[in-house]
Symmetry: C2
Subunit: 191 residues, 2 copies
Amino acid sequence: MMKLLESMIQEKGTIKEGNIVKVDSFLNHQIDIELLNECGKEFKKRFADCKVTKILTLEASGIAIACIAAQYFKTPVVFAKKSEASNLSENVYESRVISYTKAKEYNIKVDKDYIKSSDKVLIIDDFLAQGEAVAGLLSIIKQAEANLVGIGIIIEKGFQQGGKKIREKGLRLESLAIIDSIEDGIIQFRK
Amino acid sequence: MMKLLESMIQEKGTIKEGNIVKVDSFLNHQIDIELLNECGKEFKKRFADCKVTKILTLEASGIAIACIAAQYFKTPVVFAKKSEASNLSENVYESRVISYTKAKEYNIKVDKDYIKSSDKVLIIDDFLAQGEAVAGLLSIIKQAEANLVGIGIIIEKGFQQGGKKIREKGLRLESLAIIDSIEDGIIQFRK
């Protein structure tokens, strides 16, 4: 796992009620661009054997790491758009996503022009918890009949089920830091 | 103005009903990272004399260019979060923004910890039309008693009022491409 990232989480993350770790100060409100660059390089290293043609993420907070990482892969980024309306547009792939943290459902949409069956797609996102967002993106890749290269995540909440479900499907998942537990303010990372 | 950007808009932009130019294929759905890097370098060149300490943008589509540009300024990015709820949280600066394109109002919020009165803030966004988003970000900078360095925009719609209003206030606005008119499918850029 990435030592720099784990140190940042330890030092700058704040633990809120319900053992929620907030990384707003460097990851998803204020963004430390140097850290993102290190994460981007690490993703490139881990997926070095894959010929990625496109990076797919979800607005809003996935956009930052997807764009920084894309510089190392030399590929475009496509970000799925969120929309609470469930009306179907014409030229889009759509998937329904449940957000447990926000307690609501929304649609995610990708224009059919931007994911083709010839694409080798790497999904990148900042967080993985229940895995609902990734499941939505996987559905879009499937609808496009494109190839999934793998999934790169900055912080996986190892005590939730998303990572487990993805690995059980035999998909390639690279999480740069996996939090296994948060107890009494102490964060344990997976070794 | 940036020739590369103008060429991209001419070649890859599509003109929709009501003379709306869509740049979804390289700017705000699929993202051409090389183009963003050129835009980032150009912003750095134009604001080279300013000691920027923070780049401020608005989710979602401003995040990409803000993060890429921040690499040249070597500063963190802060992105204001959108929320349709108008309930006041405690430790945030807030501003109400009207979106004409989406025909709705929403609040934008920035945690008080991430913009300080000592900050020299550069606002960066992908689009400028009526200037409502920029006005909201300016209000947040004012509430924080921080210093505004200027505003960097990728595409300004010169036939709408946002740019004019900002320049009339004496604020420094750098738009990398200004579309003065779209008529019968022909895009005219300001010289």
